[in-house]
């Protein structure tokens, strides 16, 4: 019974961060900041839900093979997600996209666009 409560808390915790990321995606003013908020979903959201899933497969389903697969899924998301974020941000920037509100500092523009 206690383990079910822990599992539920982990999954709900992950979902709270996913909701925060979704609000950020909808309300942030420019694409770069929106991607920052989306990172919330793919780190704490995925980690919380995956940890809950691992405990569920081990203690409720008694199936450790499935647990190892969930570990592999979480590691894969953590390994591949930053590469995508980096390329999207760099592509948007080098394609000429700039936030409407001026950024506080812009070292990349200072060093490459002159």
């Amino acid at each position: 019974m206690l383990i079910r409560i822990i599992i539920d808390l982990l999954i709900v915790g992950g979902l709270v961060f996913a909701v925060a990321g979704t609000i950020g995606i909808l309300k942030m003013p420019d694409p770069f900041s929106r991607m920052q908020a989306a990172t919330c979903i793919s780190t704490m959201g995925v980690l919380g839900v995956a940890l809950g899933g691992i405990l569920y497969t081990i203690f409720v389903m008694h199936n450790s093979a499935a647990a190892i697969k969930i570990v592999a899924i979480a590691l894969m998301i953590l390994a591949t997600n930053p590469v995508g974020s980096h390329v999207i941000a760099k592509g948007a920037y080098s394609h000429g996209y700039r936030p409407k509100k001026k950024m506080d500092t812009d070292d990349l523009g200072r060093d490459f666009n002159e």
């Binding site: 925060a20 950020g24 309300k27 990172t39 919330c40 930053p82 936030p99 506080d104 523009g109 060093d111």
Partner: protein, 173 residues
């Protein structure tokens, strides 16, 4: 592009085979044999893209333990901290942000170290690595930061990647 080398093929083969066993999770002889053949083919083709430095490097226990320690303690701690502050910004209506791109110097030298550091920075909410450059032997990262507190390169670097880089220096140089 470098040539295919023996140790690199062995290391790639071991990683591929471990992944096959992980996903398949059956230990019959024919399944393992099929996995070994596929892994060997993949290793012959892909090892020169996969491994650029010393191939046996990752299988030394000290490095492996340092990487596990980095992942389980240093990185997770930073991740939770950054996530909580990001969630606070989002639930607060996303108005309290000061985005900007800062250029920070890094001590990392090797390709793997730079990639791991850049990916760790991107994975923490609030910072995204946008470009890696080298100037006069010193490597620099351009980081998009949602809440710019410091514009001085050294101080900004300390705030963004101080603990992450300390943890990673034990694994890569």
């Amino acid at each position: 592009m470098q040539k295919t080398k023996g140790p690199a093929v062995v290391a790639t083969f071991l990683v591929c085979f471990a992944f096959w066993v992980l996903l398949d999770f059956s230990f019959k002889a024919e399944e393992l044999l099929a996995g070994a053949i596929v892994s060997l083919l993949v290793a012959l083709f892909a090892s020169r893209f996969f491994i650029h430095e010393d191939a046996g490097w990752f299988f030394k226990p000290a490095h492996f333990l340092a990487l596990i320690k980095y992942w389980c303690f240093t990185f997770i701690g930073e991740l939770v901290k950054a996530n909580v502050s990001m969630a606070r910004i989002c639930f607060g209506g996303c108005t309290d942000i000061h985005p900007g791109i800062v250029k920070i110097p890094t001590e990392m030298k090797s390709d793997y170290g730079l990639a791991a550091l850049a990916n760790s920075i991107t994975l923490t909410p609030g910072t995204i690595t946008m470009e890696v450059t080298e100037e006069e032997g010193q490597n620099y990262l351009y980081v998009h930061w949602i809440d710019v507190k410091e514009t001085d390169p050294e101080k900004a670097g300390e705030a963004i990647k101080g603990t992450l880089e300390k943890g990673l220096r034990g694994v890569w140089q």
